[in-house]
């Protein structure tokens, strides 16, 4: 299992190419960190890999996941999980239903789905909070729930977009350890963008510098 970017490049309709074509290999169970100055298009890179590019961006090159070319698949068919700075739990669903949203439909039966969600809640220190309003959770709880929701969808790769930057310094360490432990236990390739060197150091993996072009160059 691996995530491979082949000469991946994203062009904006107004500013041309955002960064030099990127070729990258992320092995299963490995975490590769992409760093770069703000505004270079780190989040846009993840959008391109995950299939979330907004109108006005064009992607060239290929995204290969476990040998299959997902470049032209819609986001929901790529099986690539995505975590943002904000947990983005769905505000109209309970915590438990948020996790259940991600469970693959192949897992059938109410009881077993519920049990899987409860188990995931237990693993993230959220036991007994199934019916809670996500808005009433603490920042750390929400971050752990968001990661768990992504993992329950059984993704074949995971993208992390500065996932710890909005947490307090004390909490950041704890959530970071939690996240990397779980990511590594699933043995899936993980790509993280960040501007925090501590994040990069915590992964113990490869660090890639994203080199930007100036604007208006093609």
């Amino acid at each position: 299992m691996s995530l491979d970017l082949e000469a991946l490049c994203i062009r904006s309709a107004t500013d041309g190419a955002l960064f030099a074509p990127l070729t990258l290999h992320v092995p299963a169970g490995g975490v590769v960190t992409v760093m770069g100055p703000s505004g270079v298009g780190k989040s846009t890179l993840l959008d391109g890999i995950g299939g979330h590019l907004a109108h006005g961006f064009r992607l060239s090159g290929r995204v290969m996941l476990n040998g299959r070319d997902v470049t032209h698949l819609p986001a929901e068919a790529r099986r690539i999980g995505l975590m943002f700075q904000d947990p983005l739990l769905f505000p109209h669903l309970s915590l438990g239903d948020n996790l259940a949203f991600g469970l693959p439909p192949a897992l059938r039966g109410q009881a077993i789905r519920r049990a899987t969600v409860e188990e995931a809640l237990g693993q993230s220190g959220l036991s007994g909070l199934h019916d809670r309003d996500p808005a009433t959770l603490s920042g750390g709880q929400r971050a752990r729930a968001a990661l768990m929701r992504s993992l329950l969808a059984a993704p074949e790769a995971l993208l992390l977009d500065e996932p710890f930057s909005k947490l307090d310094a004390g909490l950041r360490d704890e959530v970071r350890r939690f996240a990397f432990a779980h990511v590594k236990s699933r043995v899936i390739p993980t790509l993280m963008v960040t501007h925090d060197p501590e994040d990069a150091a915590a992964t113990g993996g490869e660090v890639v510098e994203l080199k930007g072009y100036g604007p208006n160059q093609t």
């Binding site: 959008d47 299939g51 907004a54 109108h55 698949l73 819609p74 983005l88 505000p91 109209h92 309970s94």
Partner: protein, 575 residues
């Protein structure tokens, strides 16, 4: 390099194109055809009557019709006057109280005034202002009146009652629009910066805040002007009757027993549309002049003027209008329940449900027609609006500017300008007057409001929320049904309530497309208002006012119950 689109993007573009096509052909084209048809009749071409030659005769006939000049003067006076005065008062009121009022409280306070249809408000105001109304009753002991004074306080020849009636509806609308524009500007900081430079509050408002607000409220002000210049139902109830305002005169000529009157009536309808264009042109001219004079004034740096007394006068006038509106709404219900109510008494001496029971058969039929129309038009408009917005999301591109302005077109063109022509087009296409034709015609006006109300909240939803759902494997259909629609429940219901209020208030489209056979609460209330029985009029107008209010209440209550345990979705109401 190939720009292969995702299938979803392709589907989205198709959906977007299909919905725009439906809106264009179903909602905009009929207006164009109607205008064309009316325009041809205005220049003498009316095959049904054997007129096939291009001529200016209809215009000569129009100019020669009795009272034409007075009608024109009345229309300009009430239309331009009410719009400019309302704008002035609403601006002054906002300047005086903005810092002291929370936007949410403000929006809630304005809701009843926005919800109530023009006709119901007009009936209520007629009850309050009439020589035997509440104001006269309150003054009676002081003035020593034993019977209603002989004064033309309603339907006065100057159109003053109509002017007041229009302002009671327009000022709250403009307040809402200005308040929501202000929420996008750092008013407090600009105010502090301006005052620190030695400018008074009112002057900072005029020189700094309003120039930023105007571009955001320009279009709503045009809509208000177009409406005020061409209103018919309110003019019937409050305006002078002989001669009436132009729009009402044209309506009467169209429905004249003599079919030849259709020719000058069409010329009048075209003139009505031209008046709106000229009115908007005048506003644009004032804007340009205001900019030049304003900049000259700003550069002089004068700080001496105090606008404070003006602000307080405007606030007092706004409060008086709101008080009159509140009394008007209350008077509808009181009259519908009144039995014995002799002149100087403030309240009825005996109450009874007899007016309600007696007119039961009539109002239940009108109520069910009104409910069917509101349900159908709101349902249709919501489906179209959601399909269009979702198509934009899936196509990953916004609305072209031309599409945007086409959607709002029906709000700027006077109804009387194209309804007659539209009726002809419908009949020729084999669509007979009746429920379906009325639903179609009302949707022309309901859809733009639903679209305006829904577009903002829809677009301000965090797109990453939808991306997160996609990353979890949710396809476009599940993203819409399980994520977007539930999160947007409150704005969707608010848009539905606004749409329902617009549908309930429609008078002319119901009259013209229903060929007078579809009785709604509004058509009945307007017809009854010229009669003598205030009790029955009160019954219809009360129901007419209650329906939109009930819709707004539901739009408030349903999300509050459905999301009672969801803090992030509560209390985030923005007007």
């Amino acid at each position: 390099m190939g720009t292969a689109l995702h299938p979803v993007t392709r589907d989205g573009r198709l959906l977007q194109a299909v919905v725009l096509g439906v809106v264009g052909l179903g909602l905009i084209a009929p207006i164009g055809l109607g205008l064309l048809q009316t325009g041809r009749a205005a220049f003498g071409i009316l095959y049904a009557l054997g007129h096939t030659e291009l001529t200016l005769d209809p215009w000569r006939d129009l100019a020669a019709l009795p009272g034409f000049a007075t009608s024109l003067r009345l229309t300009l006076g009430t239309g331009l006057g009410s719009t400019l005065l309302s704008l002035l008062l609403a601006t002054g009121f906002c300047a005086a109280v903005h810092a002291r009022m929370s936007p949410m409280a403000g929006a809630r306070l304005l809701t009843p005034f926005l919800a109530i249809p023009h006709a119901a408000m007009a009936v209520g105001l007629a009850f309050v202002l009439a020589p035997s109304g509440w104001i006269a009753r309150a003054l009676a002991p002081l003035a020593g009146w034993e019977r209603p004074p002989d004064l033309a306080t309603v339907n006065d020849g100057w159109g003053l009652a109509l002017l007041v009636g229009l302002m009671v509806k327009e000022v709250p609308f403009l307040l809402l629009v200005i308040l929501s524009a202000l929420s996008q500007i750092p008013v407090a900081r600009h105010m502090a910066a301006g005052r620190a430079l030695g400018y008074g509050r009112g002057i900072v408002w005029v020189k700094i805040i309003m120039p930023q607000v105007w571009p955001m409220i320009r279009l709503p002000v045009w809509v208000v002007l177009a409406y005020a210049l061409s209103v018919v139902d309110m003019a019937i109830i409050l305006g002078p009757s002989n001669p009436p305002t132009l729009a009402l005169a044209v309506t009467r000529w169209f429905t004249d027993p003599d079919p030849a009157m259709i020719l000058p009536a069409s010329a009048g309808a075209v003139l009505q549309a031209v008046l709106v264009v000229l009115g908007v042109g005048l506003l644009l001219g004032l804007e340009a002049a205001g900019k030049r004079v304003g900049l000259w004034w700003l550069r002089r740096g004068g700080r001496g003027l105090s606008a404070e007394p003006g602000l307080w006068a405007a606030s007092a006038a706004v409060m008086a209008l709101m008080a009159a509106g509140t009394l008007a709404m209350a008077s509808l219900l009181v009259w519908s329940l009144a039995w014995r109510w002799s002149f100087p008494q403030i309240m009825p001496e005996s109450l009874s449900l007899k007016p309600w029971a007696g007119a039961m058969q009539g109002w239940t039929r009108a109520l069910s027609n009104t409910l069917i129309l509101a349900g159908a038009t709101v349902g249709l408009s919501l489906v179209l609006a959601i399909a269009l917005l979702e198509g934009e999301d899936r196509a990953r591109r916004g609305r072209a500017a031309w599409a945007e302005s086409l959607i709002y077109l029906p709000l700027l063109i006077p109804q009387i300008g194209f309804l007659y022509g539209l009726n002809v087009v419908f009949l020729r296409a084999g669509i007979s007057s009746g429920m379906a034709a009325v639903i179609w015609a009302q949707t022309l006006f309901v859809f733009p409001y639903v679209m305006i109300a829904l577009s903002g909240p829809w677009r301000s939803m965090d797109p990453r929320m939808v991306n997160a759902a996609a990353a979890l494997g949710a396809g476009p259909w599940r993203r819409l049904m399980a994520v977007k629609l539930p999160i947007l429940l409150r704005p969707i219901l608010t848009a539905a309530a606004i749409g329902a209020a617009v549908s309930v208030a429609q008078y002319l489209p119901t009259l013209f497309m229903g060929a007078g056979r579809i009785a709604t609460l509004t058509t009945e209330a307007v017809t009854l208002s010229s009669g003598s029985d205030r009790r029955v009029t009160g019954v219809y107008a009360s129901l007419q006012a209650a329906l939109p209010l009930a819709a707004y209440l539901a739009a408030f209550a349903i999300p509050a119950i459905a999301h009672r345990n969801r803090r992030a979705l509560m209390g985030t109401e923005t007007a």
